[in-house]
């Protein structure tokens, strides 16, 4: 379980987070929704202990996380970023094996895990031997996801994982992620600006705007009972125009 309690973070005069609290329940997917600059990536990095908070706490599985104690999250949290965040000097296979090497898994165990994950995320076998620059965007994202899952962590944090992909691949992968999250039963925290992705994947949503929480709840709550006019405005801005809705 991940909980953030009254988190505040400032960069000089800029407020990145102001009194933000949220809770992601075990085994569910929680979406952090907001436009760029809303503070959602900062919040994710604070949960990983990569950013020190000015005030407030992050609690993961009952224990507080700070930059000093972040090492205890190794193996507990998988992390996926835009484009996969792969190392260009390592093959896809070596990228995926990196966390297993770091904790000293024996080779056969890593190889076995790689086989299982390749099947799970639907990556072609051949792609594992290639370097990131030789992979398609979708393949890179699948490899990034495999790397996050290698140690089978109970928590999964994803920061705009599909933002750099073209619409068809993105829609495709959104469907796959939904299937995966349901099958794996992990606690997932997903950062996105895409309303469709939030609806499709999130059991609960936190809408952030300029570092503050605007509304939290299921999508239906946000759509039907907007806490502020901004909620409707944000959701409506990404709805297809009436002309398109008619044609579809």
């Amino acid at each position: 379980m991940i909980a953030v309690l009254r988190a505040t973070k400032r960069y000089g005069a800029i407020t990145a987070l102001e009194d933000v609290s949220l809770e992601a329940r075990r085994g569910t997917t929680h979406v952090l929704l907001g436009s760029s600059g809303s503070g959602k990536s900062t919040l994710l990095r604070a949960i990983l202990g990569l950013v020190p908070l000015d005030a407030g706490d992050v609690v993961v599985d009952g224990l507080p996380v700070t930059p000093a104690s972040r090492r205890r999250l190794v193996g507990q949290v998988g992390y996926v970023v835009q484009e996969g965040g792969l190392y260009p000097h390592l093959t896809a296979r070596d990228n995926v094996a990196l966390p297993a090497d770091a904790v000293g898994w024996p080779r056969p165990r890593t190889a076995e895990r790689l086989d299982a994950l390749t099947a799970l995320v639907g990556l072609d076998e051949g792609a594992l031997g290639r370097y990131p620059s030789q992979l398609s965007g979708g393949q890179r994202q699948r490899v990034g996801l495999m790397r996050a899952l290698v140690l089978d962590p109970p928590l999964l944090l994803l920061d705009e994982p599909l933002a750099a992909l073209d619409p068809i691949v993105r829609a495709d992968l959104q469907g796959e992620l939904r299937r995966l999250f349901a099958a794996l039963g992990k606690t997932v925290l997903l950062v996105t600006h895409d309303v469709r992705e939030a609806v499709l994947l999130g059991a609960t949503i936190t809408l952030l705007h300029r570092g503050r929480v605007v509304q939290q709840g299921a999508f239906a709550d946000l759509a039907r009972r907007p806490a502020q006019p901004f909620v409707s405005e944000f959701l409506g801005a990404q709805a297809p125009p009436p002309e398109l809705r008619e044609l579809l």
Partner: protein
Amino acid sequence: MRSGLPLILAAALGLVVPAGAAPAEVVGVGSKSFTESYLLAEIAAQVLETAGEARVERRLGLGGTGITFRAVAHGSIDLYPEYTGTLARAILKDAAATSVPAIRARLQPLGLTVSDPLGFDNTYALGVREDLARRLGLRRISDLRDHPGLTAAFSSGFLEREDGWPGLRRHYGLALGDVRAIEHALAYQALASGRVDVIDIFSTDGRLTRPGIVVLEDDRDFFPAYAAVLLVRLEFTERFPRSWAALRAAMVGRIDQGTMARLNAAADLDGRSVREVAADFLGAPAAGDDGTLLARELARLTVEHLILVAVAVATATLVGIPLGILAARSTSLGQLELMAVGALQTVPALALLCFMIPLLGIGTVPSLVALFLYALLPIVRATYTGLATLDGRLLEIAGVLGLDGWRRLLRIELPLASISILAGVKTSAILTVGTATLAAFIGGGGYGTLIVRGLALDDVGTILAGAVPAAVMALLFHGLFELVDRLLVPRGLRLTLARPA
């Protein structure tokens, strides 16, 4: 990167060991970097070889008086040709100590002594065109007082030194209308073409053996005596008495003004090799023909040069990469360190080499230390820049994946920065091939030996014989590093570069 460096170092050390193993009985003969000094030192070297008491090591063409005197004072060489006037004024700083006994007394506490004069003076003199001298009846310097309309061109040293033009003008009460500075090598042409009437010359200059120029007599004894002598270590005279006796027998009182001028002319004007001219003087056949001698020398210099570059760059790499890592890790310490390494680069190479002599003597070791210090900056900077400009997101992810500290450095940071680091090592190696030519000034050997000799003898061929191989070596190093890049830069990174996003 981890596998490549020890290899380079091992190769470099492999070359050093056999070169360092030399017999104990060695006499080092040095010279300054001008023709006359080369010739006298070569004559001494050949006399010593004939005496056969010890192996002769030639350290010819060391820089100026400062470097050469330090070399003999610290025992890096045993002897070199010097002049009484230089000893008195520049070394002992006592203008009164001009006589040989006085100089000997002053040198004794330093463990040095001088031979009796070799027989000629190399002093400043004034020269005028022969036809002009005949027409105006010029024979002595005081004759110039009657012709204030003459034009003069003096080398910049003569123009400024108290024992040059300023003192001369006062001593004789001269007033020439037009006095300007000229590069010494061009003065003779200027005189011959009639553009100037009076120039300063050295009294043993080879050009004085040719018609067209008259030396004016120093009728009021202004110019100090610069009698040529051999400056030797006392220790040498005690250990090799037979060699010392042979040197004095062959050289003391044997070389008069005219002889020295003829020897200088043979080397400077006729383009004969120093070895040959020296052998002629001693009435001995020159050892071997010049072609094979030069080929053999070039081979030796190539090995010396390679060792200088390889050892200096290898150690600079071993020290520079950790320094670069340190600089990237700690901002304040890093800036301090980069400034210090940068400041080293601003010390002129020749000055740095000169500073090394009191600490390390002359030869290979001080050259290596100086070259190492120069090789450091590109490597430290490139390592620092390579690490400091890495994608911060990729480093953050490493922490989340459980790679911290050393493991992150070795598996992620250094491989990602490898292109930049190798570029720094490459730049350093190519620069060092050039800088290493300066090592010749302190007897470090290498291609610079030929360049220094060529400059001294005004012989473009000899300069090119050193400069061209150095340029070729720089190109070869460039090619070598293209291969090293292939081996050490991870394939995935090269692919990323090959197809820009």
